[in-house]
């Protein structure tokens, strides 16, 4: 198995685990934490592709991805704070008004 495949596989596993966390944790903050794991997986993927093509495009893309992740984290936490203020709890199951 080539190194590229290895990086891709590990990246995929991280992404999957992050997805599982996002879909199953009820704590709002932990949901966003899981998205950070998914970002890590993507970064690994990009690095792998960078190895594949032997140029710096992968890494550069990953750098910009970090920027995006940071921005997203900031805004997500702002929203979480808002939601927490409304409901008094971080429970995602409290937000079921669109049920049915």
């Amino acid at each position: 198995m080539s190194i590229v495949n290895a990086y891709i596989l590990v990246g995929a596993i991280l992404f999957a685990i992050g997805l599982v966390g996002f879909l199953s944790r009820r704590n709002l903050i932990l949901m966003f934490l899981s998205t950070e794991i998914m970002f890590q997986g993507v970064i690994l993927n990009l690095v792998g592709f960078g190895i594949r093509h032997l140029d710096l495009k992968g890494q550069t893309f990953a750098l910009f991805l970090i920027v995006i992740a940071a921005v997203e984290a900031g805004l997500a936490l702002g929203l979480v704070v808002l939601l927490f203020r409304r409901q008094g709890t971080l429970d995602a199951e409290d937000w079921q008004r669109m049920k049915g």
Binding site: L19, L23, M31, A92, W95, M98, K99, G100
Partner: protein, 668 residues
Amino acid sequence: MTLSFSEFGLLQVAPLIPLLPLIAAAVIGVFGTRVLKSASHWVAIVGVGGALVCSAVLFHAVRQLSPEQYTAIYRLYSWISPLPGVWFDVNFRIDPLTGVMLLTVCGVALLVTIYSRDYMREHGHPERGYERYFAFIALFVFSMCTLVLAGNFLLLFLGWELVGLCSYLLIGFYYGKPAAAAAAKKAFIVNRIGDFGFSLGVLAIYYWVSPFVQPGQSALDYTVVFANVSNLTQGQCTTIALLLFAGAVGKSAQIPLYVWLPDAMEGPSPVSALIHAATMVTAGVYMVVRCGAIFVASPLAMSVVAAIGAVTALFAATIALAQYDMKRILAYSTISQLGYMFLGVGALAADSAVFHLFTHAFFKALLFLGAGSVMHAMGGIIDVRRFSGLRRILPWTCATFVIGALALAGFPFFSGFFSKDEIIHAAFERHALFGVLAMVTALLTAFYTFRMVFLAFWGEQRVPEGVHAHESGPWMLVPLVLLAVGAIGAGYVGVSLHAGGFAGFIEPHGVFHEFLAPVTAPFHAAVSSSVHSEVAPTAEHAGGHTLMYVSAVISIVGIAFAWWMYARRRDVAARVAENWPEVHSLIHNKYYIDEFNDVTVVQPLWRTGLAAFGADRIAVDGMLALITAVPRGLGGLFRTLQDGMMQSYGVTMTASLLLIVLIVLLVG
């Protein structure tokens, strides 16, 4: 026979005759309840009076027409054109029969309208629905005039249905009373049965006549149809005649469709006088006379007409013997007299039938209006067992009522005598059995009429409790008097003064019959070609005067017998009823015909209707519910996916992504 516009002259008043009452009805309908209120009767009087004036003018103009060109066709406008080359007009046929009928209709209608002004009031205040009443009366006059003036079968059918509608509206005038509402429904439905046959007849005419129609002619015009009767086979003529007669049976209350007329007495008395004595019920007779060409071509149809007429006359007369409601007695009397008219037509004496129609209009309307006057005085009670001896309290009513009764009973020198006698003559010439039936009926007619008179007006004076009986006002009495004059004098237009006739100076067949001769020509032709007649139609009845004396005697005997039973010794009637209770109850209950109809016809239809309703509810609604349940079920199914949790939506999104990836992997 169609005159040009310039030759029309006075005949141009023809459209006004139906139009004026229609406008009156519309005006009362729109403005009646708010503006006119208690003055509504003036609009109706003006409308109907205007129609009467125009009818008189028309009559005068018709008299100017020459015998060769006795019909004028006045075409108003082209009405319906369902197919290219096929069209129907609104056209009027103006001939002597039309003239006579219009005068009768409008004259009686005007007198009834004037009478209604007081009848529809209680102590001077108009009843509830006063304006509606006059609007309907005007609408009825419009409908009847349309029927009479119609120049083709389609317009005739329109008028036919409209008079049925007005009858329904007026019978059910007191719609809050269940009996009145039921009577109106019954009248309309029974009429409908007859009208079904009538419409089939019109369709048959169209179907069988249209092959012979020239371009530029309409297949349902009277002129076209009557000209083409010779092109039809006898079977076709019989079918058409019987189908048309079915409509007449319904409209003119013959067996078996007479059951609505006695119930129709729930309407106000003027309505009974106008619609169910003088005009609407005579539409059937008018139609049969009008279509004489078709009927004469089918001897079978003529026999049927005569037979039904004769049987109905006798049947209804027997029922009238044991009724106690004055208006019911008069209703059965009307049925019986209509039977006489049909008997006359069937016996090929159409002019006699129309003459009887003419005189009957006067005295029957008079009798009904008189009964209305009694009812008004008795506070709404018309059962003769509840009052008697009214001749001193209501002198004018009594006098005019007796005059009408004498005319109905066929007392000599009154109008009814002359007209009824002619029919008896014609009946005998047709078949001896018919003649005997007619004479027996005449005897019964005289008897029950005066039974009613003596029960109500003779004897000790008693009125129902709490009723303050007084004579009616001039608005009601003047029409009564005018009709009484007509009841006596109308007969004399149908006889001619001739030395050597009945009572020395009277000879049957007068100006009336001469006037109608061109219209009833088919009947005369049939008479002269039949083997029964040995004398020419308009010739004197060589041995016929005997019959006139005989019928005079019959009438006097009937009156005398009634006098003895009801004026002198009242206990006889009670003893008769005791000794033959079954017979009495059978007759009193109208031979249980209504109950029979109910069981055989009404109940099965009702059950069928209920079954259809149930089927609709179960089948149709059930299917609908089933169809709507499917989306609802599917929606409920999909709704479980929406649990409001964003993570479940994430799961669904991931699943979709998975699906796409799989598709790309396996296919792409």
